[in-house]
Structure formats: C-alpha cells, structure tokens
C-alpha cells in the first residue's frame, strides 16, 4: 500500500490546487470588491481623480436625497404590492394548471412561454402593447372607458410593470405546480372522508405542504424586485420615466455610477441596497419559522 503519510500531503496540495480558481476568484471578485465598496462609500470619488475621504457624508446626503426617497418608494411598491399580487397569481395559475383536463400540458406550455422570452425583448413588446393609442388602450376605449396612459402616466406606470411581471409567472407557477403535485392524495381523501370541507382541506393541508415553495418564490421574488433594472431601463430609460415613476433603486445606482460617475455616492447607495436586501431576507426567514412546514 502507498504510505498514508504520502497520500495526505499530496491530497492537500491537490485539493488546494484544484480549488485555486475559486479561491482566487472569491478574493478578487467577492471579498475584495465587497470591502472596497464599503471603503468607497466613505469617499468622494469621481472616476478621474482619486478617492477623497468624506466619512459619513454620502450616507447623510443619501438620507436627505429626495430622488433616493422616490426610488425607495418605487421599490417598496413592487415589494409590498407587487409581490402579494404575484404570489397569489402564481398560486392561482398553478392550481388551474393542476386541473385534470384534457390537453392540460398544452396550457402548461402556453403559460410558460412568456417566461422564456429574454427580459430585454419582452420589455420592448410590453412597451408597445401598453401603448395608449395603438395597444391595449384602444380596445379599452371601445368600451367607452378612458384608457390609462400606462407608462406615460405616473399613476399607471408601476401597475403596468406589475402586469408585465404577472405575464412572466410561468417558472414560478411551475414550481408551485410541482409542489402541489407532491401533496399526497390519500391525505386529502382521508380528510374528505372525515368531513373536512374543500376550504378546510385547502387551508390545512395544501397550504402548509407547499409552504416551502411559497417561501422560496417569495424570497427570490423580493431579491429580484430589489435589483429590478433591465425592464425599467428599457421601458423608462435612465431617467426613470415621467416624474421618476419608474426610477428604481438599481436604476438610480446605475445612473450615479455610470452617468454621473459619482463612485463614492453610488457605493453608499449600493450598500444601502445590500442592507435593505439583507434586512428583508432576514425578516422573511424569521417570519417563516412559525409558518413553514418542512414535514
């Protein structure tokens, strides 16, 4: 047998060697930038010069920045209004797709199709679909109603985006569908025999058993809304639309970093985003402890 001592030494070297791409990558693309952005957030750094230390000034400016408040508000709209709608919609869709109807797999493919279109292309399509004159708006006017201006109207811009978002529910609906199909039928039949109504069965059996999936979709959904960028950029442009109704945090970050070249301020903004993200995720995980059933 090969001596144990030689194997140990060689294995250590090999292990480290094979893992070296990630080790280098982590240091270069994760750890260093993470700490560097913290440093930059305390500086004033226009790309051309050198970073100048300003302490907490960026953060103070941020708190007083009205545009930041608007962006915060916009993202909050997505999180607190958009997400609930989205989750309910995804569940509804999954329930429908769970029906034992002839040709249901065709419906499943159709429902998934929009989610497979790249968000860049889909954004252009929805920009056109929600055009007040020639898109959906025309058909609404046929009913004698005044069609909303959608993206051109500050009041309707975000609902328009949510509508767009609901259109891409396919993947998450599939996840819920998979969860629903994992519910053991005999459990439900036993409950039915014991006299449980449909509603009771749904609340006490279905909901708890798919709660891990609900948590997953909710958490990933919130993380996604905090970094909402591409669709807003294409539909609203870097300015964020009329009255900044579509100026989201990630968009504001982009503008500060790559148009105004205020690297220090943008870094502070990035850290705020990170903290908001972390806080929301922690709150959700905490809230889920009592409610998610991992049976």
């Amino acid at each position: 047998m090969i001596s144990r001592k030689r194997i140990h030494w060689r294995d250590q070297v090999n292990g480290a060697l094979f893992a070296s791409p990630f080790i280098v990558g982590f240091l270069a693309f994760s750890l260093y930038p993470f700490l560097a952005s913290l440093y930059y957030s305390f500086t004033d750094y226009g790309l051309m010069g050198r970073p100048e230390w300003v302490g907490l000034q960026n953060y103070l400016d941020l708190v007083r920045d009205k545009v930041f408040h608007v962006a915060l508000n916009n993202n909050a709209y997505l999180v607190f209004i958009g997400i609930p709608f989205y989750i309910v919609w995804a569940l509804l869709t999954a329930l429908l797709l769970n029906a034992r109807v002839h040709g249901i797999s065709i419906y499943r493919t159709l429902f998934l199709l929009p989610a497979t279109i790249p968000s860049v292309a889909a954004s252009y399509v929805w920009l056109w679909v929600l055009n007040p004159r020639t898109g959906v708006g025309y058909y609404i006017s046929l009913f004698g109603l005044n069609p909303p201006l959608w993206y051109n109207d500050p009041q309707w811009a975000k609902p328009g985006l949510i509508l767009f978002w609901l259109w891409t529910v396919g993947m998450d609906a599939l996840i819920f569908l998979a969860a629903l199909q994992g519910i053991p039928q005999d459990l439900k039949e036993a409950a039915e025999l014991d006299g449980a109504t449909q509603r009771r069965r749904a609340l006490s059996i279905d909901l708890p058993l798919i709660s891990p999936a609900i948590l997953f979709v909710t958490v990933t959904g919130v993380i996604w809304t905090i970094s909402f960028f591409t669709q807003a950029f294409i539909i609203a442009g870097p300015t964020g639309g009329r009255e900044s109704s579509m100026l989201f945090l990630a968009l504001y970050l982009y503008v500060n970093a790559f148009q105004y070249l205020k690297m220090g301020y943008a870094s502070a903004l990035a850290w705020m985003l990170f903290l908001i993200n972390a806080a929301l995720t922690l709150i959700m995980l905490r809230a889920s402890r009592e409610r998610v059933f991992y049976g």
Binding site: F18, L95, L112, A122, T134, A270
Partner: protein, 292 residues
C-alpha cells in the same frame, strides 16, 4: 377550482345536482384556463405579428391584429438595419468564452470539494455557499474600477475572464453530482497509480455529461440574455451583443418597431427553444437545490 375538476368526473351514484356542479366546475376551470391562456398569448402574438407588419401598420388606429400583408421581408431587413450579424457573432463569442470558462473552473473546484480528501474541503464549501448570498450591486462598482485600471473596459475581457474563476451556483450543482460518483471507483484508480488530474479528466468528466450539459445550457442562456454586463463594459458599438444591440432600432424621431419586433423574435428563439425543451430539467434543478 382545479380540485373539483380533478376528482372523478362522473359516477353512477351521483345525483343530478352533483353532476351539474361537477359540470359547472369543469366548465369554469376551462373558462379560466382559456382566459389566462389568452392573456399569456396575446402579447406574444402581438410580437410575432408585429414583426410581419409594415411600420405604418404597427401604429394604425384602430390597431389591426393580423398584418394586412405578411412582410416576411422585415426579417432580412432587420438583420441589416443594425449590424445584427456582428452582434450575433459577439454574443456567440461571449457565450463560448463563458461556457469554456465555467465548465473548466466549476468542475475543477467541484472535484476538489467532493472527491479530494483535504482539510480545506468543508470550510471552502461553506465559503462557496456564503458567496451565493452576495448580491451583484455591492461588488459591481469596485470590479468596474479594477477593470478600468486594467484597461479592460471596452473589451470582452470583463465579461469572460471571471467565468474562469468559478461561479458558486454551478460549483454547487456540479459538486452535488460528483458526490454521486462512487468513491471506491476513484480509489481503485488511485491505487493503480492514477494522479488526480488523470482521474478528473478521464473519469469525473466523462461520467458527468448530464450535469455538464445542464451547466452549459444555463451558462449559454445567462450570457445570451445578459443586459447589464454588456451595457457597462461593451462601450464600443462593434462589440455590442444582441441584447444591447436591440437599442439600435430606437432613434430620436421614430423607432423601427416592425424591425425591432423581428429582431426580438430572432433574439428570443434560442431562449424559448431551450427552456421549453428542457422544462423538466430546470424545475428539477430548482427543486433539488432545497425546497424540501
């Protein structure tokens, strides 16, 4: 809703009332399914039919759903209105580079974290998991500044090089798969004198084709659809990918909507075909990463 319809459709013991309720439930489910299917299909149909209309028709009031004349010529026109083939070439260059980089780095690291016995194995895996939590915005700016100092802004490098250093999610995926390859198999090879490199190359990789193809497809889609990366780093127009090249159809006075839709359809095809063809793999992939 779906539940009632999924029960037994009809049986002899049913009263007329029960039968009526079942029928209504089935009917309402079908109605809802069809209504929703319309909602999902209409914008998509709008895109496809729009790509075949004339520019004037795209903005006609009242809007026509189907094109009057099917302008298939929009497609070749769209491909020359902007340097579409160059954008395509650029997208493919990035995709290929990323696929090679990801396949190399992620398999190598995954091997270290699964089948090499060394002390860093556990701790490093924890680091991999932790790094999955790191959101992109926080690291974006310093990475950009570094690339700028290196003079790499305005080249493909910032979008390809990082993939050679591993990506936490794919490392995780491949590691899980590697763990299903039996240890005794590898030990037998080691006893026969095979070095780790040889085992990696001649055993781990050939046995891992399913997960490798999944990683390839995921990486391809991610790069093909990537918007922010090219937006920041591909500052020269001749480097643009299709994702940011679609902007070429926008202009100050009027957009070439019909051509934009045609280009959008072409751009969407790989994404649609791959996702649809592999639905089950994608959902299974998500489910196994820890829903239950």
């Amino acid at each position: 809703m779906g539940e009632r319809a999924s029960g037994v459709a009809w049986h002899h013991g049913m009263s007329a009332r029960q039968r009526l309720l079942r029928f209504l439930a089935l009917g309402s489910t079908l109605l809802a399914l069809t209504a929703m299917a319309l909602f999902f299909m209409l914008p998509f149909a709008w895109m496809v039919f729009g790509s075949l209309k004339s520019l004037r028709e795209t903005f006609s009031v009242p809007p026509r759903f189907l094109p009057e004349i099917w302008l298939w010529s929009n497609y070749p026109r769209a491909l020359t209105y902007v340097p579409f083939l160059r954008y395509l070439r650029n997208s493919l260059i990035l995709c290929t580079g990323n696929i090679l980089g990801t396949l190399f780095s992620c398999t190598v690291v995954a091997y270290s974290l699964s089948r090499i016995r060394w002390i860093g194995k556990g701790p490093l895996f924890a680091v991999v998991l932790a790094s999955m939590m790191l959101p992109g915005q926080v690291t974006m700016i310093p990475i950009f500044i570094t690339f700028r100092r290196l003079g790499w802004v305005g080249t493909f490098a910032p979008l390809i090089v990082p993939s050679f250093f591993g990506s936490a999610y794919y490392i995780f995926l491949v590691r899980q798969f590697f763990l299903t390859i039996p240890e005794p198999l590898l030990d037998a090879a080691r006893i026969d004198g095979a070095g780790e490199l040889r085992i990696y190359w001649q055993m781990m990789l050939p046995l891992s084709l399913p997960v490798l193809s999944t990683v390839t497809l995921f990486t391809f889609l991610g790069t093909w659809n990537d918007f922010l990366g090219p937006l920041i780093y591909l500052t020269k127009e001749d480097l643009w990918t299709i994702a940011i090249g679609l902007r070429g159809f926008q202009s100050a006075h009027s957009w070439a909507w019909e051509l934009l839709m045609a280009a959008a359809v072409v751009f969407s095809l790989p994404s649609m075909l791959l996702y649809l063809g592999l639905q089950r793999t994608f959902v299974a992939g998500i489910v196994t990463t820890g829903l239950r």
